[in-house]
Subunit: 364 residues, 4 copies
């Protein structure tokens, strides 16, 4: 990549006439490119968002305190606490495109139903006992599960137990806000179905490998499968590592198993703006430093390790979350077996042809 | 549909000059359209293939006798006995596009490895103990399973037990033969791996609902999943009927559950020329008479019923096979719960835009 | 490619019991694979169709004689004389998939309207003065034009002049017949519009490079452009050769310009079963011998040359037609500048994943 | 659409503990959803961008003055003056996704070559004499032409005449900046080819209706056609209106012809983030008020009329530009025949499934 040259640059002479021209530009709501191009069109992505790590050990107690002080219900809608990237000026944007939050629901509480154009999911790092009701279909939430609420699906949550529960939410709120694509509508103040089935109707229709209901032959924009269960994720990763032991191609790199959650009607991403993946690394494995266009959020599900972000290393433990802004090099190192959930805006980048990846051959 | 007019037709006068013209056509390898159009371009499909039913009770003993008299090995390749549509002149074509056969493998026999451009599957109506080895991956064959060997995949079979086993094969041999697209290559005279694992490597990588290995992001023409297990098919159908009982949309019509086997990388058909489905009808259910462009083969997996083909009814029992040629009206009636496997050339018809369906509103 | 082994083959012993088994197979409409596999599943495609050349100098006079002896009208529908491949038993099949015919229309004659599921086109090697009316849209037919009548479009032709005209028709009649996909319906006994506009309505809407009517945003299975005019084809080929002279990548090989006719809504083939192309080779250019799965028909539009089919060379002149069956090696040599129209069943082969090409590095 | 309820809202009590909780959130880079949701997730898009009109009569003299005071060359790169939406805080963003600018090049000046991930086009409302050199291919720029420089194509411009020339640029700079997807690289300080051909090499290869070079069968992300000439656009629109006069379906609504510029390899938009269209309205025609998700910029090419934006009407004349932010109702009224160029971020909205349109049945 050629560096931006700073010398021999054609610059206008600073004269009274030039200043008058600039003033006249302002009056007409005009801005010249030549004074802004270095910022607007950098040689490589130069994100305002910064890499950052949020420790679960600090997040969770704050969520608990919210549970005591903040009611959940119509208006506030959700007891969700958003991760605010320190580079993005105080908004609850974990990156320019993504929202990540810890959501907390006390015993027998209900978060009322609503729907919005924004795409959403939940991932459960611990706990159980909450059902999310998506377009009327109650979906159990348990440790390790990924639960989907794609754009314009009504959804609410209720806690069926005497214990509180927390999980993370991921959405495309910043992208939607920035590009003015959001719609929002209230639904029932309660959830429409308080049943607590083991499996949602979507799973009962769709959760069979390679089988498609003959009544459901039209492809859907987002996945029709509301829940991706830990049991399957865990087994898929375990088998990849066993196949690797048998000398078979299965893992993405030595000691590193990974799956992508996909829409069974197309084999593509679960939602048009958000990709979700789960990674398992054997103890001692270090992934090569990698830069990608677009931003990602990771949460440690189990185990411990180290993340290097722009070369700076931080220790990771269960529940910790970190964000990797666009083109920031990152690398993971597993100390124990390390299980990590990841979500990103990669579908946006790929569908609009902005995706690029650069891998550093030297490890880290 | 307008009927072909038979009167007021422009016909040439039968003269010596006309006869000479026709003789000169012949000499130049020419044929006029005007003498052939009624046959070549009928108002609706007018298949030479006829509807026909093969009784399992007669097929199976013949397969057993073959087991005694006919060796299996290189050259003959398979102890497969093809269903020869009575309208197609003695070739083992069940329809103009499809091949269907009963294949039989005695105790500890091996059918040697080969590969061909033709797409193939096996479906097991009863028995177990054979493994088919597809591109080196041993795949267990058990009752109710669908096993895939897409075009140009090496495959052989071996029987690991002291009992014989039979199953059905489906291929696109007639289509391939007619259109000169076939390639064939011998592989190992034995199978390359005599291991007998419970699950194939393909299943261990792919048989999780909505999970895609990150190492396998390129879509494949045919399914990468070599086995579709009965356990999942059975449960998917059962759940559709339960959902129907709960008032949910799930079945294709009242009392009629059905799944299509699909390629998890795309959500589409398992192979480019062959569609496979499984249907379960509750006792007493009658499907409306239906005409479709393209041909289908059905096998009763369990239960009993009646099929009406062109209005003629025949009793069906476990293992019975029947073929429905293009545009022949067919209807199924379940006496007991009726489980039926179906395969067809529908992907050909759909990809080439020839698909049409007509449903008779009056039942049968 | 491994040759089929002829020795060490597992064969059943010819016994009375075996003969009884085969007789019992016959009685049950069964045929064993092991006696047919060499024919049914050859090592490489082994077409019954043979390479053949039809000389325009012999075809055209026969078409003229038909014009005197055979009326055109309802019933016979078209004064079309089909090319009958000598290997295909007397039917007017130029290949297992394709129909090619010379069609002849006398002064002021009308070929009545009809429609059929079969896809059709016309290509004009000489003459003018006929309009084909496609779904009510009159389309002028002139030398060098490709005119489309995709499946289920009504179409008829009328000659607006005092001179007769001939052209070639290409259809997928053999494929449709073989696979029982044909539907046919009579329309008006006359054409519905005797107007003779220079450009059809389809061209007026669609014949602009890279411009799509905002009223026509749904992609169509077949091209919405009824006519591909010689003026554009000629210019496109000429420019490719000029670009080549300027050292730019433009031609398919040195001295060989070529275009494919495409559906502007998708960039893909003009119809789901038929590909159409036009090739221009500079004097002296020889294309490498090439084998392809699927069959093609070529017509010399202008110039002279030699075609090698399976190594046998034949001289080509204006109007001559030849067929290349599947996997037969072919090569063209231009004596003068050689302009050739080509159509094939390649979309069938590609959509069903049977396409393969093998190029002989040694020229011819 | 349900309005956001403002009463009966669950709100936390303002206590010292709550304030401490919020302070602790801040310390941990967290922000609660419940205090931000009304802004972040509005009932319908609530853009900060405002509708605005820039008069060509004021823009052009400012561009001329820039020509005198500001050099064009390496560093500043382009003498482009961006339209700064009054609602977007002074940046040269015409909308959250789009950049629009007037660019000005004096006699015999050269704007140096560079490339960037951002997608760009130029549209010429008047003048001629400049060539833009795209990946080495000189492309003439003349009145009414649309010229494309898709992402990561090198491009520079040079004026071959003694007169200056101005045109508009459209890019996805704001989108790229916001989402950190931009890459930028300098090329030659001069353009690499000062030839001034009438037609670019891309046009010579691609600008034929429905013809695709056989050497170019791989689909491209962006159009391979660098220039869409006014001659074709004008004729396409004229023919739509003539067809409408003949009672044929051709226009988008009575008296309103329109085309979309498309990629001939796919029939889809010319670039992954930007749609371009041209509209022609007969005198007196009024389009219904329409809201769309996403933003658009229009430029009057010829004629006069009135635009209503959020109900406020403004007179339009040749060269005037206006922006319609997301979900702002807009309507055009033609006084004379009105020719309007339009570009938008619709491909982003459609590919990410955020597109929605609402048409007000009452006109305006």
């Amino acid at each position: 990549m050629t560096e931006m040259a700073s010398s021999n640059v054609a610059k206008p002479e600073d004269t009274a006439e030039l200043r008058q021209l600039y003033a006249d530009f302002d009056a007409e709501h005009l801005k010249p490119l030549w004074t802004q191009i270095d910022d607007l069109m950098p040689a490589v992505p130069n994100p305002k968002a910064v890499p950052h790590i949020w420790k679960w050990s600090r997040l969770f107690p704050l969520a608990e305190r919210s549970g005591e002080l903040v009611p959940v219900g119509r208006g506030g809608e959700r007891r969700a606490i958003g991760l605010a990237n320190p580079g993005l000026g105080g908004r609850a944007y974990v990156s320019p495109t993504l929202w990540a939050a810890i959501q907390y629901l006390g015993p027998h509480e209900t978060a009322p139903e609503h729907r919005h154009a924004q795409n959403a999911f939940r991932f459960v790092v611990e706990g159980e006992g909450v059902w999310t009701v998506v377009n009327g279909d109650p979906v159990r939430m348990s440790r390790g599960d990924l639960l989907l609420t794609p754009g314009w699906h009504f959804h609410g949550h209720h806690n069926d137990t005497d214990a509180s529960m927390a999980w993370i939410d991921g959405l495309d709120i910043p992208f939607s806000y920035q590009n003015d694509v959001g719609f929002f509508e209230f639904g029932s103040d309660r959830v429409t179905d308080y049943a607590t089935p083991q499996f949602s109707r979507g799973e009962r229709l769709w959760a069979y490998p390679g089988l498609r209901p003959l009544s459901q032959l039209n492809d859907t924009v987002s996945t029709p499968l509301g829940a991706y269960r830990w049991e399957f994720t865990d087994r898929a990763l375990e088998e990849q590592l066993l196949l690797e032991d048998e000398g078979q191609p299965a893992t993405v790199e030595q000691g590193h198993a990974a799956i992508r959650y996909v829409n069974p009607t197309t084999g593509g991403d679960v939602m048009p703006t958000i990709r979700a993946e789960f990674h398992r690394m054997r103890p001692g494995v270090v992934s090569p430093a990698r830069r990608e266009v677009g931003s990602s959020v990771f949460q440690v599900f189990e185990g411990s390790g180290v993340v290097a972000l722009n070369g700076a290393e931080t220790k990771l433990e269960k529940g910790d979350l970190f964000v990797v802004p666009s083109w920031v090099p990152w690398s993971l190192q597993a100390e124990t077996q390390l299980d990590v959930f990841r979500f990103s805006d990669a579908p946006i980048m790929e569908r609009l042809n902005f995706a690029r990846t650069q891998i550093d051959e030297r490890r880290r």
